[in-house]
């Protein structure tokens, strides 16, 4: 490969597909390697661990979504309707969950009920949570209800419930710091080097 950074991106794109399809646990390093047409051990030259790859994927995805949402929010005139519309379309593209997103709009479900439902049915689709967080954040932005304390708590609660060994559940890392990293990417576009 020409460039280390370029190769990492290649991995992120490739592994991202597999992760979003099978989730963290069910995705194996062998699969990732095979998709890249590479020896499994070679990947460890660019990434520390499977969780490291996953973290990179999530942050990458988060950044893209944030950009899209930011643009959309800027273009909003009649906040509620436009936003509702936009998020609706975005969610639809995430086929597997559209039913639930429909539900929350149609039946005016409580946010936490909603999270609970998702957790029960899709606790392997971490990216769903990500989108949920974004939705949550976007809503806050649009309605101008900024309460990062509440947001952080909601996210933390959600993550705690997941069985998947997400990187931010590692005992040795500071959960607060990780959360900050994510929130920075999501809402302020700051990406760590």
């Amino acid at each position: 490969m020409i460039n280390k950074e370029e190769f990492r991106k290649k991995v992120i794109l490739s592994a991202g597909q597999i992760f979003s399809r099978y989730g963290f646990k069910k995705t194996t390093m062998d699969e990732i390697a095979k998709a890249l047409k590479m020896g499994k051990s070679s990947i460890y030259y660019y990434f520390e661990s499977k969780e490291d790859i996953f973290e990179a994927v999530v942050l990458y995805e988060a950044n893209i979504l944030r950009n899209e949402l930011t643009t959309a929010i800027k273009a909003v005139e009649s906040p509620i309707d436009k936003m509702r519309n936009y998020v609706f379309v975005r969610m639809k593209s995430f086929e597997k969950l559209s039913n639930y997103y429909n539900a929350i709009f149609d039946k005016n479900l409580d946010h936490f009920d909603f999270i609970e439902t998702i957790r029960e049915k899709y606790d392997r689709e971490e990216l769903a949570i990500l989108r949920l967080i974004i939705y949550h954040g976007a809503r806050k932005k649009v309605f101008n209800v900024v309460n990062s304390e509440y947001t952080a708590m909601a996210i933390q609660t959600t993550l705690k419930g997941l069985e998947v060994p997400l990187f931010w559940k590692r005992k040795e890392v500071n959960i607060e710091k990780r959360l900050d990293a994510i929130l920075n990417v999501l809402f302020f576009g700051i990406v760590r080097k």
Copy 2:
């Protein structure tokens, strides 16, 4: 449970969802048990093995699809267009594969190229193969080109390539017999007891 047969069906429906999502290998008995809210070992009271469940699921699914197709075929007046249309719609509903089904119609791909593509991308989605078989069979029926030798060979070739330990790959069973069972269900509606 009231009835042994009824419980088996419950398992088939529940496990079927998981199988079709994650494929045979990635689906664990623990998951199936959890979905049924039962102890894992209890399932073995009704089924011999994981493969046994899978076999039941596949045959069940095959039977439903066969019925649908049979009805559709009966209603065909202008065989080519109607059939094309019907299969098209059916395939669309199988979202993940629709691109490939589109491809085969639009670009007139060879049948075997198509199988190859599927195998490469989705060799864990055995039900995709099933649908392919049905499509294959339906095509034969509509175009009145009946050549069961060819059909059987195509299927066998396809199955051989799969890495998944499908029940029909077991050494101790007669592959021919298993194929016959499947074909009987698919094209003649005969279900084994």
